[in-house]
């Protein structure tokens, strides 16, 4: 423990030295600018800016990349809350309640809560990273395909909590999203599924164009033609920051989101994307006013945003402790290290203490920098909403297309975004929710791959799921939740119907 603190001191001495601090700041700034672009999230941000770091030395490059990473996450929340355009897949849940809060004039509050929640989550998870990295990483490695499948099936249960409307319609949208995830090369057999000769669809429909289209473009299509401009309550300066009640309401979700996000983030693969979805579901389940969700519940912003950020740091755990790239983002960071001659691996901590601890310290510093950058800018950002809508929405469209195009340099993505925009607009008219589509799209390929990998590992025996302790445990948890929900659903259904019946009788008599 003392040794860790001593090392941390070393790290801070590295991280707070002016040149490194400068690079961290530049990274955060650049990351925020890039993150504000709809659809360009941390992964795209780092990938796009990785070449710019090649000229720097290892520590500076890593510190700047970490800054870009965090900055992109913070920037992504801004567009989610103010314009209902997800910065990346994980921000989809913030869009829902964050934008509702912005419509009610609480946009500043939402942004502030998102910023503070992200800061707390980021800082706490870096602490977790510091002390728990090696044992957690070893645990994380034990998550193989069967465990993954069990976890993802749990993630599917989240769908039950995402709908504020008809459950059946949400399930239909989830099935649709899951089907969308089937487009592309089947990784187990090599067949191209539903790609119709378009090579760019080989990796499937990207989450980014789909999310930006379904949420952002659809919103524009629905609102631009309205005779009256969308009513946005313009907040007074005093009302920019969250009220005391809102702070109180967000503290527990932030804590829960941090823990949840961190645990999900350490798992190898892209599971960290579901951290915000799961956090939303947990908050809705534990809230005393679940009907608020979807219409501007503070917990619906605080929880997912914190989970998001914590998952980000969690994803670094296997990378730093074992040199194992647990997902695309750590892989890019690892590559950055390799380019600079730092060979990541289990011995990284011993061989390069200055780099390792400097990196950890710079994560703290980065979080502080971003908080300082973002909080005052809340007022500035909220004023964007004052721009008259006829001027605002072409700008949003330009940014959306730019963001979606920049991720892969592919016009096919832009087409997907447009098609999804039309679809999202139609679905709004027909009163379907679009968030389950994104969740399905993200989960489907992972679920299918894990299932078939597990069966390949066990040569076709389904017993593998109960023979492995972690998988069995997760499945048991899932089953319990399903049963609990069915019971509650049936009971609630009976209550609800009798209440409606009473209301109808009351109306008839009055």
């Amino acid at each position: 423990m003392l040794e860790t603190l001593g090392n941390l001191g070393l790290g801070f001495s590295v991280a707070l030295s002016p040149p490194i601090l400068l690079y961290a700041f530049v990274g955060c700034l650049v990351g925020t600018m890039v993150g504000v672009l709809p659809g360009v999230g941390p992964l795209a941000g780092i990938s796009l800016l990785l070449p710019a770091t090649f000229g720097l030395d290892a520590t500076r490059a890593i510190v700047m990349l970490a800054g870009i990473y965090y900055g992109a996450m913070y920037g992504g929340s801004t567009t989610s809350i103010l314009m209902r355009i997800p910065g990346e897949a994980a921000s989809v849940m913030t869009c829902i309640d964050g934008y509702a809060m912005a419509r009610r004039g609480r946009g500043g509050a939402a942004l502030a809560i998102a910023a503070v929640g992200s800061y707390v989550a980021g800082t706490l998870s870096v602490v977790g990273l510091m002390f728990l990295a090696p044992p957690l990483a070893a645990f994380a490695l034990r998550f193989g395909p069967p465990e993954y499948l069990a976890l993802l099936l749990l993630g599917l249960l989240v769908l039950a909590y995402m709908s504020s409307g008809s459950m059946l319609k949400s399930l239909a949208m989830a099935a649709f999203g899951l089907l969308l995830g089937m487009v592309g090369i089947d990784q187990m057999s090599g067949y191209f599924r539903f790609a119709y000769g378009v090579v760019e669809l080989g990796d499937g429909l990207g989450v980014v164009p789909v999310a930006v289209g379904l949420f952002g473009v659809a919103e524009i299509l629905a609102t631009a033609g309205q005779p009256a401009p969308p009513e946005v309550i313009k907040p007074r300066l005093r009302e920019l920051l969250p009220s005391r009640r809102e702070w109180r309401e967000s503290s527990a979700p932030i804590a829960r989101g941090t823990l949840l996000g961190f645990l999900i983030g350490i798992l190898p693969g892209s599971a960290h994307v579901i951290s915000s979805f799961v956090s939303y579901a947990v908050e809705k389940r534990l809230s005393r006013r679940p009907q608020e969700f979807g219409h501007g519940a503070v917990a619906g912003v605080a929880g997912p945003e914190s989970a998001n950020n914590a998952a980000t740091s969690g994803a670094m755990v296997p990378m730093l402790a074992l040199g194992v790239p647990s997902g695309p983002i750590p892989a890019v960071m690892l590559a950055a290290m390799m380019v600079h001659g730092v060979s990541p691996g289990p011995l990284l901590i011993q061989q390069q203490p200055a780099l390792f601890w400097g990196f950890i310290a710079s994560m703290y510093v980065g979080n502080v920098v971003l908080l300082i950058l973002n909080l005052p800018l809340v007022g500035l950002f909220v004023n964007i909403l004052r721009v008259p809508y006829p001027y605002l929405y072409p700008a949003i469209l330009v940014f959306s297309i730019l963001g979606v195009y920049a991720v892969n340099g592919s016009v096919v993505d832009v087409w997907i975004m447009v098609a999804m925009g039309i679809l999202g607009w139609l679905l709004r008219k027909l009163e379907f929710e679009t968030a389950p589509i994104v969740l399905g799209l993200v989960l489907a390929p992972m679920i299918e791959l894990s299932l078939r990998q597990s069966l390949a590992m066990s040569d076709g025996h389904y017993g593998i799921f109960v023979q492995r302790p972690i998988a069995a445990a997760l499945l048991a948890v899932g089953l319990t939740l399903v049963l609990m929900n069915l019971y509650a659903f049936v009971r609630r259904g009976l209550d609800w119907r009798s209440r409606i019946a009473m209301a109808e009788r009351g109306e008839d008599s009055s």
Binding site: F54, Q187, Y191, E200, G345, M457
Partner: protein, 329 residues
Amino acid sequence: MTRRRLRAVAAAAIALFWPLSAVGQEPYPSRPITLVAPFPPGGVADLTARPVAAALERVLKNPVGVVNKTGAAGAVGMQFVATSKPDGYTLLLALSSISIIPEADKIFGRPPAFTVDQFAPIALVSADPTILVVRAESPWKTAKEFIEDAGKRPGQISYSSSGIYGTLHMAMELLSHAAGVRLRHIPTPGAGPALTAILGGHVDALASGPAVILPHVKSGKLRALAGWGDRRVAALPDVPTFKELGYPDAEFYIWAGVFAPKGTPEPVLARLREAMRGAVADAEFKAAMDKLQTPIAFKQGADFQAFFDADARRLADGVRKVGRVEDKK
């Protein structure tokens, strides 16, 4: 007013036609060159492409930029270059998968995304042999034990790969055919997850490029059994090659080479080849490749063509033997 308009029209005409007149007269290169890396940033192809681009830029004294066109295991970027204008301003840094993808398309009866003869090879830059690794706790201490065990228990020993028909998969397939054994293939979405799978104990073996597994072999988590190259890897001098062990057909390299679209004029190709010679000798380039722990294996002209043809034949054979995995079940 009229004179001004006349001048304006003249200026516009010159502006419009100037680029056209310059074509065919400009020395190569006179515009920025794009080196397409068909893999995402941070991957092997990308990390090799950047030093190559930087070195080429120094030699040609002309900007050379790397653009990532990702998708479909490299098919998107490769198709992009195959169909781009053959004027020498769009080049491709391809991995050995360039020979695999058209074959895979063929066995599925799809029109191929591109074909190998849509490219003109310029130079080979690196050729990493793959290394067979198993976990340190596993019972096989030598490659011989591994192969013997695989023969006794067909289909029981599992290995991960970066994707079906991918480089890591094909390496194992070549070994399986050469040694006459059957292994169980667990595809994963990339080299990273493949590594995670073996480190977590979910699969028994992995064929991987040396740079990726070196830190884990050194720290004792993985054991390297044998390599697919024609000589031992410098960083692992105790690891024999499959050739030495009596399986000469198990030869596989994850190589990276620079290609141009076919039809690029000869003088441009010659200039590029000359530039590559210079780039490979560049000190900064050597240092960068050293940092990546990727030895430079430079081949050009007839040498490269021979290497490429032999490799393509081996891989096409391998892919055909694998066939459609679903049909075999």
